[in-house]
């Protein structure tokens, strides 16, 4: 059961081979056994999970089960959960019990999914390694001396180590895809606006997007289908008919199931900067895609190199404003002693935020300041448009774009903590996708040195989620990387 797919779990639950309570207990016990070494969870909600599982069992018994009824999952601690601690990985919110559910959380509750707990993350989703959490770093299940990626590192590690079959995440610059790649699982970030941001604690509002982790594309497709949908409480939520993101998940019709698919390979992604072990795994995966009938074509994203500078203006600018509400006045951390209002603000925020969060607030405040706004923020917005145009030009020549998810495999904990810019560069292949608002997916495609997973990123045109998932699914039907588990 631990390694079962969602389809298998559904069948077992429906056939009463296992109850939801038994299934939840199985995963809760695994969390109890392995979380001390992995640190993937900040909060484990055993009582809440078992209560939800009992309700799910009643629903199953009554014949009212939906696809996710009784299925355990974990939420990234960026999603507000009613009555459950919601920290966003920060000391600032270390005492914050949310009085309401995020839209994603309420959708999954309504679907009957069983929330096991809240996963560790980089503080306020700022980071690529999960070392920026107030609750300590998450360990990569493949090698616990290494990072799992970030910022959704807890969710990725939990799914990779089978502490939960599926998990939610958020992706602002690669925070679903990159940790999925580093932990050997599948993760998808949909088109901006597909998943409601209501109740998802904002880092950079114009880039943040909820996403799904699973062992396979098929599992991700089911979770995404349950998470997505228009929400009138989020003005940037897209008003479109509900979609079944699993509609292209199908058994291969023949030995060339991907015939006709044009895969674009951005010249800039295959230039220098990619580690050799990553390159080898990615090239092998592309060979596999060609075997499945796809053709590959070189495309160009000439402004992609500007994605990191543009991102590190826009995201901190929005973050500096989004995080202003954490002032110690109404909730969250407040300094124990202060002489006046200014000192209360200064001490509460100085104590409540970690170094990377402070760094980004400072950068964001600077780039929005009078006299600098045009040179930084407006300029970055122009780059953003150019980057989006590059993708549109590329999609005239191909159906999906493929490349490495990250330039290297997971690095050692502590290796890049003294060099933020090196850390930022690790997101070089994922960030442009957020700037353009496109959907992106990472699936495992082999192993590099040290038996560390390598991820392949597939980028789709707007609303191309079902196609990305269907494409990855065909690859996974022909390969077994996604079935490999850490020891």
């Amino acid at each position: 059961m631990i390694n079962a797919s969602l389809t298998e779990l559904r069948a077992a639950l429906d056939a009463k081979r296992i109850s939801s309570v038994e299934l939840a207990t199985l995963f809760l016990d695994r969390i109890a056994a392995h979380n001390p070494s992995l640190n993937a969870f900040i909060t484990v909600d055993r009582d809440g999970a078992l209560a939800a599982a009992r309700a799910a069992d009643a629903r199953i018994a009554a014949g009212n089960a939906g696809p996710l009824t009784g299925i355990p999952l974990a939420h990234k601690d960026v999603f507000c959960t009613e009555g459950v601690l919601t920290t966003c990985g920060s000391k600032m919110l270390s005492n914050f019990v949310s009085p309401y559910d995020a839209h994603v959380v309420s959708l999954l509750k309504a679907a009957g999914a069983v929330n096991l707990g809240k996963t560790n993350m980089d503080e306020f989703a700022m980071g690529s390694s999960n070392e920026n959490s107030h609750y300590g770093p998450v360990k990569n299940p493949w090698d616990t001396t290494r990072i799992p990626g970030g910022s959704s590192g807890g969710s990725a590690a939990a799914v990779a180590a089978r502490l939960a079959p599926i998990a939610t995440g958020t992706d602002t610059g690669g925070s679903v895809r990159q940790p999925a790649g580093h932990t050997g699982i599948t993760g998808i970030k949909p088109t901006y606006g597909v998943v409601s941001r209501y109740g998802m604690i904002a880092y950079a509002s114009s880039l943040d997007q909820g996403g799904a982790f699973g062992a396979s594309a098929a599992d991700c497709a089911q979770l995404l289908t349950a998470m997505a949908g228009f929400d009138e409480r989020d003005s940037t939520s897209l008003e479109r008919p509900a979609e079944d993101y699993a509609r292209e998940i199908a058994a291969p019709a023949n030995d060339k199931p991907l015939a006709g698919l044009r895969i674009g390979l951005p010249r800039e992604f295959f230039a220098e900067g990619m580690a050799e072990d990553v390159r080898a795994a990615v090239e092998a995966a592309l060979d596999q895609y060609r075997k499945l009938g796809a053709t590959t074509v070189e495309v160009s994203l000439p402004n992609a190199r500007l994605a990191i500078p543009a991102y590190y203006v826009i995201a901190p600018a929005e973050a500096s404003s989004n995080l202003s509400r954490f002032d110690g006045v109404r909730y969250g951390h407040r300094a124990a002693e202060y002489r006046d209002l200014a000192e209360m603000y200064a001490k509460s925020r100085a104590e409540g935020f970690g170094a990377e969060v402070k760094r980004r607030i400072l950068v964001g405040t600077y780039v929005l300041s009078h006299g600098y706004y045009d040179a930084y923020y407006l300029q970055a917005q122009k780059l953003r448009r150019l980057i989006a145009q590059d993708f549109q030009a590329a999609f005239r020549e191909c159906d999906v774009i493929a490349g490495p998810t990250s330039p290297t495999t997971a690095w050692a904990i502590g290796e890049k903590t003294d060099d933020p810019v090196q850390m930022y560069l690790s997101d070089i292949y994922t960030i442009a996708v957020n700037l353009a608002g496109l959907p992106g997916l990472s699936h495992p495609c082999g192993f590099g040195g040290g038996n560390l997973p390598v991820g392949l990123q597939l980028i789709g045109d707007y609303f191309g989620e079902a196609r990305l998932l269907g494409t990855a699914h065909q690859y996974q039907q022909a390969t077994d990387w996604h079935l490999r588990r850490p020891a």
Binding site: C80, S321, S324, R325, D327, L368, Y373
Partner: protein
């Protein structure tokens, strides 16, 4: 140097609270006076993860305002964040509009002064934009701490910014009054100044006539027309005195203290915030389609300017009368209804009654025209009796008092009932009037002699005597004519 050597330059920023039932970005109620923090939902208190959703009713009111002042209602405008820390600003930023406001330009015509010195002036508006209000900090009753009430946080405001077109406190007050009447007229704001629904900030500077603009100081949060006038007058004198004493005006924000009648500095330009405005990524640009605008336009009431022009052009009223009668929505509606009942030929006498006895009575009773105990139809009935000679104008005043006191019932013909019941019908019987004149002349030889000696006043005294003898019922015109004939004959 005297004050006349200086020219005063004033621009106003008015915050009009829009009368929507719910807040501009949340579903919480905007009702005034609730217990602290009971009307603040998750969005208003800025819990982690919450998002704003724009109230289209607030937008609709902004469109109405834009149409009313002949402004450009922007097809696309943008909400921006104004960032600063304050405990009653829960998000640490206010959602406002900065570079692209919803209403651009426009103008309002005001009438300043009274009598022969009255003049009209058109004030240009710079813009009007939508924004949310902050909460309130309460500094008393908390034992040295401050209390925060977030009921007001998120209440929709329209900030209406004028060009620096006003040249005196009188002009500023006339503009503020015209604006106040307008927002109530088009029903976007209740105009309640005590509750803070209509607040004025005045930017004031002085300069040599024709010279470059002086440095301005902004007087914040004036919540009555009287304070607006007092604050500007004090500020102008202070600025003139300061300059004439060799000082310089520093750009600053000041507060007006109604107790002392003085303005005092709140913060200088050096202390001003850098608000780090940028487009709010949680809200899409506000798009107003031509269809939306057309629908709002089709639902607009006749505006005061158009009504005033109609009163002058079609009904023959003077500019003064037409301005006075359109100064408030309620008075205009009352007057229109009175003329509707009395007929257009009676427009001028109806105007005199509405602006005269009715206005005085309403003012004394502190009622607005919509609450008048005398209905438009009743007033029209009274005017008709004066015009057709049934009663004199003076008796009309008596009948009006009776109407006001509810005598004569609630019917439209109440005036007739009072005239009949009290026997107030005018005497047009020339023989009877002549007889009364003869009696008066006989009893007032002194006045007759004075008149003949050229004192016109004596004539009026004699008319008065005759009217008194008739208990007011004699037709005054007839009395005049017959008396004149007797004296000259």
């Amino acid at each position: 140097m005297s004050r006349s050597d200086w020219e005063v330059v004033i621009g106003l920023e008015v915050h009009a609270q829009l009368n929507t039932a719910s807040k501009i970005f949340s579903g919480a109620s905007t009702a005034f006076g609730a217990a602290p923090n009971v009307q603040a939902c998750a969005v208003d208190i800025a819990l982690p993860g919450v998002l704003p959703v724009l109230n289209r009713g607030a937008v609709e009111r902004a469109i109405r305002f834009g149409l009313a002042i002949g402004a450009n209602v922007a097809s696309k405008s943008v909400f921006a964040r104004k960032n600063y820390f304050y405990p009653d600003l829960p998000k640490g930023y206010q959602i406002s509009q900065f570079e692209l406001p919803v209403v651009q330009g426009g103008e309002i015509t005001i009438r300043v002064g009274e009598g022969d010195k009255a003049y009209e002036k058109t004030v240009q508006l710079t813009r009007a934009h939508l924004e949310e209000d902050a909460g309130k900090s309460l500094h008393e009753d908390f034992h040295g701490m401050s209390g925060i009430d977030l009921n007001r946080a998120g209440t929709p405001l329209l900030e209406i910014v004028s060009e620096p077109d006003m040249r005196s406190s009188a002009e500023a007050v006339a503009y503020a009054r015209a604006l106040h009447a307008l927002v109530r007229w088009i029903d976007i704001c209740d105009g309640n100044m005590q509750e803070g629904s209509f607040r004025c900030d005045a930017n004031v500077s002085v300069r040599r006539p024709g010279g470059p603009l002086g440095t301005r100081r902004e007087i914040k949060n004036l919540n009555s027309f009287r304070f607006l006038q007092q604050a500007i007058d004090f500020e102008v004198q202070w600025q003139i005195d300061t300059i004439e004493d060799g000082g310089r005006i520093q750009q600053a924000t000041v507060l007006f203290d109604p107790d002392t009648g003085e303005t005092r500095m709140m913060r200088s330009k050096e202390d001003a915030h850098d608000y780090r405005y940028f487009p709010d990524p949680d809200l899409l640009p506000l798009v107003i389609s031509p269809e939306w605008k057309a629908r709002v336009a089709s639902e607009m009431p006749e505006l005061p300017g158009a009504m005033k022009a109609r009163f002058m052009e079609q009904w023959g009223l003077s500019a003064y009368d037409a301005t006075t009668l359109t100064a408030s929505k309620e008075v205009a509606a009352f007057y229109q209804a009175t003329v509707d009942a009395a007929g257009v030929a009676q427009a001028k006498p109806c105007a005199n009654w509405v602006m005269g006895d009715l206005a005085a009575r309403l003012n004394k009773a502190e009622l607005d025209a919509s609450a008048s105990p005398v209905s438009p139809a009743q007033l029209a009935g009274l005017v008709a009796r004066i015009t057709d000679g049934t009663i004199s104008n003076n008796i009309g005043k008596k009948v009006f008092e009776a109407l006001w006191n509810g005598e004569g019932g609630t019917d439209a013909n109440a005036a007739d009932a009072i005239i009949e019941a009290q026997g107030l019908r005018q005497t047009n019987d020339a023989g009877a009037i002549e007889a009364m004149i003869d009696e008066v002349l006989a009893a007032n030889q002194k006045s007759v002699e004075e008149f003949r000696a050229g004192k016109d006043k004596a004539f009026n005294a004699l008319v008065g005597q005759v009217m008194r003898a008739s208990k007011g019922k004699a037709n005054p015109a007839q009395v005049n004519e017959l008396l004149k004939r007797k004296l000259e004959g």
